[in-house]
Symmetry: C2
């Protein structure tokens, strides 16, 4: 019998080598899906390796805490449906199998059977996403976009401080880190023109977001109370909600964004669990006016997650200069938190299923260079972003690559990282 | 060798009894999913019966035209993915097995093995819906809603005649005909109030729509040209996009409808194929201005489908009076047709998968009582709908049941029906 341990204790060490400043110490243990032997398997990141959950289940090292089929599926949905008590039991077992003073079975086994190198692994979207909802929960972002899209009017609409505004995005185009992003074509109306034109977007943008993936979910007609939301949030990942601003501006009234968003949404490959993030749970932002009763939650419902956007142009790549960071911000200051988002999205009885994706909306801060989109960073092109070598950017050009990063750090805790969500722009399809 | 026949020929007769004015003659053969022996099976409606495709495949009566697994799945997605040539081959075989002068194998078999009664069968949503898109393609409806939601402004927005405006709905809450609809709760702001209230919607409405279900779909980044759309449209069904107008009005700006729609969408159980509808294909409505190139389609891209809305209140039910028809309209006059909708939805490279659902948006005509929603029929409550026995309705009350019906009729063709999509309103969940 192995003594249960606090799986986030900073003193825990793995017998596997893990860099002190790496994203994936034993305190993290995020879930993903990777290709092995021609099939998709579930895995957990640890240091520079992926622990193969299929192999672990096959070897019987988890069968007393979790039915093998949940870990041997090609996506996380069955495991997500099993709920928090199962997630905790598996986390505790993985921690025991990986720590120096734990269960020695894995350490003594043939490591090639149980681990693959993280570097070079082909990752997959780890869940089947039934519905994808994108919120609009950063007050700084909503204010900025209001100013840019509806100049001369009150930037925040009357409903914004009362409801976590959101809309449904397209699940079929959620792609994994590294997937090339083809510049979309569509209708856009040039300023002062009467009629729209058709062609590749000229205002291709990013949106830096953090998403969460749901666990068991609710039955149709039975809302999830805000206080129970954490039972239904499995973990978090990075989301880049690629946006074609000219297409979006022309199409979005009155039913919201459609083709300006639906061409691609990139997610990071590792889902970081709420357990791993617990040391970084923080007090949520003060909300005024006070939310309605169904949106009231524990004051500590936010998470302190540092976020960054890196840009690498074709020229930077050719010159071997490496990417530069164009923005830094933090998830903690997002106005509407995840518990509120989930309570709101289900308060009308709508069903959430295992594997659903909910994203925060663009995360912008109030400091210089803390905005999560180029339209904000370049203020609609009025102040292009200066890059090394004299290049500038207002929106993305072909060959540009954008990488989102996220991590948690504080004294007395181990760094918990999200890895990254990268996409490089390909020219529009030849017609 | 059975001679191939034109499967829509009005002279074809089945050896099974089929009422002359019924929805499901041998010329129709729509697909659905039903419960049998504790499992979900695919079936085809014929007269008052469901032909069990699982049993048919098991008996080897289709194996030379279709892999058994496509017909033995619990949903249509594998069959949808197989494409039009397979759909046509199976249709031809089903027609041969069911017609008087065709393949005698089925007629001579034990009918109980192959058929169940349609009446009393438990139907299921017949496809796994990856993404659900709802358009806004009736010009009369969009004009009416513009007048009601944005009084004092131009009712049709500048983009409306250029793009088939649409948005993503929620797949998890698409339910089958007969499913009870619980009155949703949510935020709504009373007229002239500063702050919103929370409670059951007071303006529960319907939207009469026709949807289509997709076949193979496109790869990410590769649009479906309008001229190829029919290769990707498997068939059509009725859609009731239940709407909570007060919730919708408060939430919908700037990102579109969310909780005002996401609580439930009812579909009819039978997918009527494009082949069955071919005799009712008609010239599409004139579009001015002419659409951009990628939206230009065959002039005959619309379908002449009669539509009706029936309402039955609790009191009508208690008095045994039966439902009354409160509106009649037709699908043919919808401004943007299905080929244009699908071409538009994928022109940015967004992927459509087998089983995706695209709905037309509310279908309204220009005649009296030809509008597809109560907010139009009652003109936002200004002119409540008069019912027998002195009752009136502006929006739905608990106990009300709404049934959508659709059918095609013309001289020289057999009637092709859609069956119905019914839902009865239950009181809001007790808190």
């Amino acid at each position: 019998m192995i003594e249960p341990a606090n799986t986030t204790d900073a003193r825990l060490e793995s017998w596997l080598p893990v860099a002190a400043d790496g994203d994936f110490p034993i305190q993290n243990l995020p879930y993903g899906a990777f290709q092995r032997d021609g099939a998709t398997r579930l895995g957990v990141a640890i240091g520079d390796r992926i622990l193969d959950l299929y192999a672990l289940a096959e070897a019987g090292m988890t069968e007393d805490v979790c039915e093998p089929r949940l870990l041997q599926a090609p996506h996380l949905n069955p495991f997500l449906a099993a709920g928090r008590s199962r997630w905790l039991a598996v986390r505790e077992r993985l921690s025991a199998l990986l720590r120096v003073d734990g269960d020695a079975r894995l350490r003594q086994a043939n490591l090639e059977r149980f681990f693959v190198a993280r570097h070079g692994a082909t990752m997959r979207v780890p869940m089947e996403i039934g519905d994808y909802v994108d919120f609009y929960s950063s007050i700084e972002h909503a204010t900025n976009l209001g100013r840019l899209f509806r100049p001369g009017t009150e930037p925040l609409m009357a409903n914004w401080r009362w409801i976590p505004v959101g809309y449904h995005g397209r699940s079929s185009t959620v792609v994994i880190d590294g997937t090339a992003i083809r510049r979309p074509r569509g209708q856009r109306r040039p300023p002062d023109a009467q009629a729209p034109e058709f062609g590749p977007t000229r205002r291709l943008d990013i949106e830096l977001e953090v998403g969460f993936v749901t666990g068991p979910g609710n039955a149709l007609g039975v809302p999830i109370p805000a206080r129970d939301a954490s039972e239904h949030v499995f973990g978090l990942l990075l989301v880049n909600d690629w946006s074609a601003r000219d297409i979006q501006a022309w199409e979005y009234q009155p039913l919201g964004p459609f083709l300006g968003k639906s061409f691609a949404t990139t997610i990071s490959p590792w889902i970081v669990t709420l357990e791993a993030l617990e040391p970084f749970r923080v007090r949520s932002r003060l909300q005024e006016p006070a939310p309605l009763e169904y949106l009231r939650v524990d004051a500590r419902s936010s998470y302190d997650i540092e976020l960054g956007i890196e840009l690498e142009t074709q020229r930077m790549r050719e010159h071997g200069a490496g990417p530069i960071t164009i923005a830094r911000t933090n998830f903690r200051d997002v106005y509407w938190n995840m518990a509120q988002q989930l309570a709101h999205a289900t308060v009308n009885g709508a069903a959430t299923r295992p594997g659903d994706l909910y994203a925060s909306g663009t995360i912008s801060g109030s400091e210089t260079n803390s905005q999560g989109s180029l339209i904000e960073l370049s203020w609609n092109g009025e102040h292009p972003i200066g890059l090394p070598d004299g290049e500038t950017r207002s929106f993305l050009e072909d060959g540009d690559a954008v990488t989102l990063r996220g991590w948690c750090e504080k004294a007395g805790a181990r760094r918990i990282g999200f890895g990254c969500a990268r996409g490089q722009i390909e020219p529009a399809e030849k017609l």
